[in-house]
Amino acid sequence: MPQDTLKLPELSLIVLIGSSGAGKSTFARRLFKPTEIVSSDVCRGLVADDENDQSASGDAFELLHYLVAKRLKRGLLTVVDATNVQAESRKPLVALARQYHVLPVAIVLDVPDAVAHARNAHRPDRRHLGPHVIARHRQDLRRSLRNLREEGFRHIFHLRGVEEVDAVQGIVRDRLYNNRQEETGPFDIIGDVHGCYDELLALLGTLGYVVEDEPVVDARDLGIRVTPPPGPLPSGRGGAGRKQIGDSIKGGVSGNEASHLTSGSPSPGGEGAGGWGTRKVIFLGDLVDRGPASPQVLRLVMSMVRSGAALCVPGNHDSKLLRHLNGKKVTANHGLAETLAQLESESDSFKGQVRQFLDGLVSHYVLDGGKLVVAHAGLPAEMQGRGSGAVRAFAMYGETTGEIDEFGLPIRYEWAREYRGRAMVVFGHTPVPDAEWLNNTIDIDTGCVFGGRLTALRYPERELVSVPAARVYCEPARPLNYRAAQLAAAGTAPGGDLSAQHQQDDVLDIRDVTGKQFIETRLLRGVTVREENAVAALEVMSRFALHPKWLLYLPPTMSPTETSELPDLLEHPAEAFAYYHKLGVERVVCEEKHMGSRVVVVLGQDEAAIQRHLGLTGEGIGKCYTRTGRNFFTDKDLETAFLARLRDALTTAGFWEKFSTDWVCLDAELLPWSAKAQELVKNQYAAVAAAATAALPQVEAVLAEAAARDLDGADALLARTTARRQAAADYADTYRRYCWPVHALDDLKLAPFHLLATEGKTYFDRDHAWHMETLRSLALADPGLLRATPYRVVPLGDPAEVESATQWWTDLTAAGGEGMVVKPYDFIPQGQKTLVQPALKCRGREYLRIIYGPDYLLPGNLERLRQRNVKAKRNLALREFALGVEGLERFVAGQPLRRVHQCVFGVLALESEAVDPRL
């Protein structure tokens, strides 16, 4: 009975085997997507313009292997359409499958010579092939058949004759066992138990699980039942729990990714309500050995897995026990002897169930849409969701360097150091004194059996819960805190007390910033940073910027309003209001624009806080840096005094308690302008005024003489020169307003306008009125240093309010003020189709003299200056804004520095794009 469907693993390399004319291409086209098929004929055509040019075969197969490798690397099922009748042609394909941990599958199309020959005869391009070709293919094929399994093919389908080939109507793609992407959690992931039953019960209790005895009726009953905690976690964030629908929960949204932007409510995009299901435990393996109660642990875990309350991956100890139970001879060391002794008194039926249970364990799981991977010893990104012996071995044993340490233990290769995958990886296997994040991976084996603790990680909360070991059940060969002790003894620990992540983050990798970058952000789908811009940014970042650990955020550029058509004006609030109104923003906030230097302040309550959160030591309690990441201060004493005073102001204001934080990131303007820009003011602005003041009166004098001689045109030139002299004087008055000498701390004023972040939190979800009020209350604590920004909320539907705000701007700017910034009331307005400008500046007529030059208002000039285009600037502002928000969100979420730096670097790179700087 011919099969009408073939069952294949969803990720496999399918090698079609058959003579010329066997119908491989037709078969492939009928059953697979066109893009899944890599054909040798097509490759030959690509390199030689002739699908039958046998002389091109070498290049063609090189190309074919290249294409196959790229597809497999990316985790795509691939069909190789070539004769593949010889072992030597299949060998490189099997090797590729192994390299990418993909299952090789052979489908043999075994069609009689006559049929193949008849088919070829119908094709003009193959008509010339003599019968000997097909005969030779068939001969090779027959010789191959018995060796396919040996060659490494895991599934072999031998389709005999045309009828069997044609009978196949469909391919069933079996999911890999490790693919549990639809399970979104929440999970409680528990590290190596090693027979510590009491601690496991205590931990489950702490996590809210109820463990009860159950009557044993059947031999298969395990006599124990575990009930997950009801509803969402007591401490949990996120929406109301949704009833579990077992495995059918689809594509829910992980709370981890439901950003702060949405106030913790489930973000849209997930199917259904997006809430979380019932909690589920994941055991990371090494259930047995060394500890006092391995059978009890097994019984409990098996019961939970059977009832669907838990998942379990195998550890190396579990695997060894399985080999023993399977009758293999194993050395009963490393605690196996204890386990075997404890199992003595158990029934054969139980042991049978244990054997069956362990045998069924899957090396690792990919969960929650690919966001979470669990494996006993961890798993590098290229092995996740793949199936091969190598994957299984890595998942259980990890990788060692081949060296042995002084305790006789293998030195482990620290794959997590180089981990750059998308998924969080939770693992155990190597006992550590504390569970620590490193590159979005975490080892939660805290050595319970060695007298440490039994630890669980709550996912997606990223919260660690642990219970102490009742006692030391086994002396470790290598002390638990060995590494820390070793580093301390050496006295030259590179990172001192820094966390593993912070140590790792000391040096970033150039690959993360150079070349064309494509950065996914939560506000914009993918921000591209061009290579030439990255080139420029690399130099600025390397030569002038602060240590990247300080750079959590760079502010976006800000676009002005569209150009006003009113006489004598380039900018007016009407255009800003119109912009937001048109985009459906109902309320805006108008903030007075301070003329100073834009700074970002990162400040800790003390140096220890900076060390804890930023991983920086000996660099003070904070930094105040410019839009290009450069230290604002060049005078160290002034910097120290400034930061200490700011810290004291926050303390006085009760800020640290109110926001339960010991660090803060502020977006602010630091005044006066001349504090930082003194040289610029002198060399650029004052110089222009000086030159004009020196030259123009002499020009006037000469023109007056010429006018006295009645030279035609002299009067007009004289009038124009007089106007220019007056314009130069007005211009000088304008820049002088923003300058005052800075001799001491008292001369500096900080006007913060965004509270960007505190520990674990950003404030992009708060409206601007909240930011203004929050920062005003801070300013009250030290009015000598801090300046509250005057602002007003303007409902755009209310003409009176709009009029009044416009008047406010007119008054502000007439008095010499720079102007105002108009922002949507909400930091990031929801419900708009596109991202709206986070802010628009509306600068005053006088102020613009220093931007557009002394003569900008003179007849003939303003008209031309109106021809400006804010589009490029706005586009840039949005991209920079998206990157800035993304970087800071990544930082507060505890992501590795490279992920934060990528965004910050991106903003700096975008800043080098060519945009009219007067905008």
């Binding site: 030259t492 590179p494 000391d506 040096v507 970033l508 990798d509 150039i510 910033v513 150079t514 080139v535 420029a536 690399l538 130099e539 600025v540 390397s542 030569r543 002038f544 240590h547 000996g618 410019t626 839009r627 290009t628 002198k682 650029q684 602005y685 004052a686 110089a687 222009v688 005024a689 000086a690 030159a691 004009a692 003041t693 020196a694 030259a695 002499q698 020009v699 000469v702 023109l703 003489e705 010429a706 001689r709 030279l711 035609d712 045109g713 030139l717 002088r736 300058c739 000498p741 931007i851 557009y852 030059g853 002394p854 031309r864 200056l865 800043e911 080098s912 060519a914 700087p917 007067r918």
Partner: protein, 496 residues
């Protein structure tokens, strides 16, 4: 900008014939960047004054410059409309071209006539008050300057760089005066951004052909001209630095005294005012030999020779030049045939393109071309392209990094790249007291973040060696002086 030329030659109105401009009319003509007006505020037989008024259009000046041409856009508010610059030269040749060429149709004998002349330029921009004198006195002018404060409301800011220039000459051909002004006013101004194109520069040199070779300041004059031909700054970088209150690096000039970009850094024009000869090897502060043409090797070249020699003795196959700048060391390394591959890295893309030019990479034979590769990179980022080398040179590099970033450099070079040998050179701060022009506590270069004494360098180097399994020896570079050592110092690391 205003230029007036007054003569008391009788009849004074002959000036009108000479200039080929009618004293009774105000004439306007279009020039690059705006308009020039020629008129006579006085025109009598006793005394006649011609005025050339430049009315540059500030809006047009900015608009005319397309984006990405290297024009530093922060200068959209600038002094050009008020100051005598290359624009004036262009206007002079357009308005008074016939006079400059010494022809006069109506009075053929006049051009050869020496006239008593008074010239006023309002205003010039000059690197210092003595410069107008140094440029014009050798040509026989009596020179007066009037100075102006930068901002009268800010006395502490001092004087502005602007002067009204008054020149007198008892008897000189008008043609010569115009030529002098044509060449020397832009030299005085030295604007970096509004450069004159190649042909314009050739014209300038042509105008100076007669008198420039005898001028005592010919070196200064020539050098300043050559600036106009400098390769434009990387436009992208320029824009980036634009918002950062930072001076752009001076464009590199391919003159005999060109500074290495290692030394180039944040060279700013302020330092240049110290001495016109300051642009030698130790760049802006003028610490090296005073004569440019001296055949003796500069300090920097000596350093490079010494490093190249050390590398030669190791007979390495693969060599890294970290912070290769414009490629001076690379050139020496390429001459060592036993080196199979050289990778030069610099953080400055601009320096790399210059290096590629100077090494003529495009013209190398395929075999030679395969020996060298230039990459942009930073010593503060881990970089796998740096692994697998026998030797690495960091010549005058570390002092351009903030001291607290050296840990990153250490990790990148000594922990990750791990070349078998590493050569690190840096200035010896002990030696600084021998530089007369250097104030105590100042560094040799504006971009130096630190300069170490021999003891400080030794302590850093031994620390690095211990932490990363190298042994290190310290070498003096240059002639040693009792008590203070040599100008530079080198640490030679060898992996154990």
């Amino acid at each position: 900008m205003l230029l007036t030329i007054t003569t008391t030659y009788q009849p004074a109105t002959d000036l009108g014939y000479l200039l080929h401009k009618n004293p009774a009319r105000l004439q306007s003509l279009e020039i690059t960047g705006g308009q020039a007006h020629v008129f006579y505020p006085e025109a009598t037989a006793e005394r006649c004054t011609a005025a050339l008024l430049l009315d540059l259009d500030p809006v047009g000046l900015v608009r005319g410059r397309g984006q990405g041409d290297g024009f530093a856009l922060e200068q959209y508010v600038n002094d050009r409309p008020y100051v005598a610059s290359s624009f004036l030269s262009v206007a002079l040749s357009k308005a008074f071209g016939t006079a400059m060429n010494g022809t006069c149709k109506d009075r053929p004998a006049l051009p050869a006539q020496a006239l008593p002349l008074a010239i006023t330029v309002a205003v010039v921009s000059a690197p210092g008050p003595d410069w107008p004198r140094r440029l014009f006195e050798p040509l026989g002018y009596a020179v007066e300057t009037e100075a102006y404060p930068l901002d009268p409301t800010q006395p502490a800011w001092g004087a502005s760089p602007y002067y009204t220039l008054r020149l007198r000459h008892e008897g000189l051909r008008l043609q010569d005066v115009l030529t002098h002004l044509y060449v020397l006013l832009p030299v005085l101004d030295n604007d970096k951004h509004y450069y004159v194109d190649q042909t314009e520069a050739e014209k300038l040199l042509h105008r100076g052909g007669d008198w420039l070779p005898q001028h005592p300041e010919r070196g200064f004059i020539t050098r300043r001209y050559l600036r106009y031909l400098a390769a434009m700054v990387n436009p992208t970088l320029a824009r980036l630095l634009e918002g950062t209150e930072e001076e752009l690096p001076e464009p590199e000039v391919s003159t005999v005294d060109s500074a290495s970009p290692r030394e180039q850094g944040q060279a700013n024009s302020a330092a240049e005012t110290a001495s016109p000869q300051a642009e030698t090897d130790e760049t802006t502060r003028g610490l090296a030999e005073s004569t440019v043409q001296q055949p003796k090797l500069s300090l920097h070249d000596q350093r490079l020779q010494q490093v190249a020699h050390e590398i030669y003795q190791l007979a390495p196959k693969r060599v890294l030049d970290l912070g290769c700048g414009e490629g001076k060391l690379l050139r020496l390394l390429l001459r060592q045939p036993k080196i199979e591959f050289i990778r030069g890295m610099d953080v400055s893309h601009q320096a790399l393109s210059r290096a590629a030019q100077r090494l003529h990479l495009d013209e190398l034979s395929p075999r030679q071309r395969a020996r060298i590769e230039l990459i942009q990179g930073s010593l503060l980022y881990r970089d796998e392209r740096l692994a697998g080398f026998d030797a690495a040179a960091l010549v005058e590099v570390i002092e351009h990094l903030d001291e607290n970033r050296l840990a990153a450099l250490e990790a990148v070079v000594f922990a990750q790249a791990r070349p078998a040998h590493v050569f690190v050179t840096t200035p010896n701060a002990d030696y600084n007291q021998l530089f007369e022009k250097l104030n105590a506590g100042d560094f040799r270069h504006d971009d130096h973040r630190f300069e170490w004494t021999r003891a400080e360098f030794a302590s850093w180097a031994t620390g690095v060696a211990e932490r990363h399994g190298y042994q290190v020896r310290l070498v003096a570079m240059g002639d040693e002086v009792e008590g203070v050592g040599a100008p530079s110092q080198m640490a030679v690391f060898e992996s154990i």
